[in-house]
Symmetry: D2
Subunit: 156 residues, 4 copies
């Protein structure tokens, strides 16, 4: 099983801690961690996964493998720019969004478009014409997020 | 100038009329209309553009050019699936979202990520932690949408 | 019908003349000319097509539309780097290679892989284990090249 | 270091043995093996790498991870079709082509285009206007191939 952890390339300490914990739990439960390979949430999740000897995959926007954070085991430079977001989504069975900016939103949307479950902690809230669209599975903490991700995968 | 009109592949009659009008105004003002090439909002916008002899470009998800709606002048089959959304965004200078589902949301997010202006009519509303994120330029009708799109392009 | 004309971004005067003539004949016969949008063979073919009021499509490797040569009507910036070669191939029904370097060779190979006809003038010669692989339809001049391209399209 | 092993999805027993040996040597020397993730040469190389506990990365053309051969550790479904060939090239520091059909040729050409070394065993021979183009580093057996790949990487 491959769990994608998505979020911004820069983040505050609290968000970093959450993403670290998510990565740790993903690895503990034996899943491969997929991410965009850069800093911030991506680095935190990879660092957490490595603390439990998990395997981490980073799909990079540039052609330069050195852009990968130090906790990426398998770094895939794509030179596709933000178009690589579609590959992060494709490579994951389920996604967990931690915070996140517009890049993360694009990944959430692509995942929902192709029917992949998305769990969110403190991430985007979606609405149309004043009505909330509750397509993201909201979790209050890393444990709930990883638990919901595994449940969603088993159901899909 | 290239204006992207984005929205769902199926839509109700009201949304179709709005997208048609947007396409017509885009062509009247001399811009090339870019879209995902399929039905619904994309077809409406192309049909509107052709009513004023505009030029229409459709960037298709499949490898089959026949998927293009009949109002597409230049049909580009990509076989990239939803990853082609990044190409619609790249190919446009400004985007106008009319309604839209998750695919449209991914295009809005990618555009905002790379700093391209997005105008919206009846489209997604974004928020984080209970606070609205007002990154989309809201328009109430096709005239205002196209006007705001041209203004945003000239400023960018 | 969409004919792709592929070749290097820089070329000598003789190759330029051949590509110009190919583009002219493509337009004369009513096909849309697809290319990578840059200089050299691509510019020559577009210039030839415009001399007969043809429509030209340039699929660019960068995100900058200004990279397109001045004879491109519809310029599609992709920001995919050389990965855009696959899109040039997908967008064309048949390809005509005029001379060409490694980028052109990648397009020839991708086209042959997915079963699209490739006509060649002064382009790559392929062999394996000392035996020529005659997959490219060889033409001695622009007229023969465009004629063979149309024939191949009608048969495919 | 990441070594790409490229070749056809189906191959004869002799080619399989060569690719197996290449994969084994790549893993023995501590490099990560990158490939297109499918059968034939790709499967042989992965199987060889796993015989020495190497790490294998498969970048798949489809969206279905199950297409990966059983010796792929990290399977990346892309849904990009043959456009994923550019990603195999990007993900590798050096490529070793074993035999190969048109897909392999496209990878060889893309690698040469962006300046990545390509070593070949029994693979394509290139020529233009009757003159061989000796851009591929020819090796007579797996040992020489892997040796030349490492040398080329160290020089690059």
């Amino acid at each position: 099983m491959y769990i994608g952890v998505i979020g911004a390339g820069r983040c505050d300490a609290r968000t970093f801690d959450i993403a670290y914990e998510v990565g740790k739990l993903v690895a503990q439960r034996g899943a491969i961690l997929v991410c965009g390979g850069l800093g911030g949430v991506m680095e935190a999740a990879c660092k957490g996964a490595k603390s439990k000897a998990g395997l981490t995959l980073g799909i990079l926007p540039s052609e330069d493998r050195k852009q990968a954070n130090p906790y990426v085991d398998v770094a895939v430079p794509t030179d596709l720019g933000e178009a690589r977001n579609a590959l992060v989504v494709r490579a994951a069975d389920v996604l967990i969004a931690v915070g996140g900016e517009f890049g993360t939103l694009s990944e959430i949307a692509l995942a929902l478009k192709i029917g992949k479950p998305v769990v969110g902690i403190g991430t985007w809230e979606l609405a149309k014409r004043g009505r909330p669209i509750e397509a993201i599975l909201v979790a209050k903490d890393p444990h709930e997020a990883v638990e919901r991700a595994f449940q969603a995968f088993l159901k899909s």
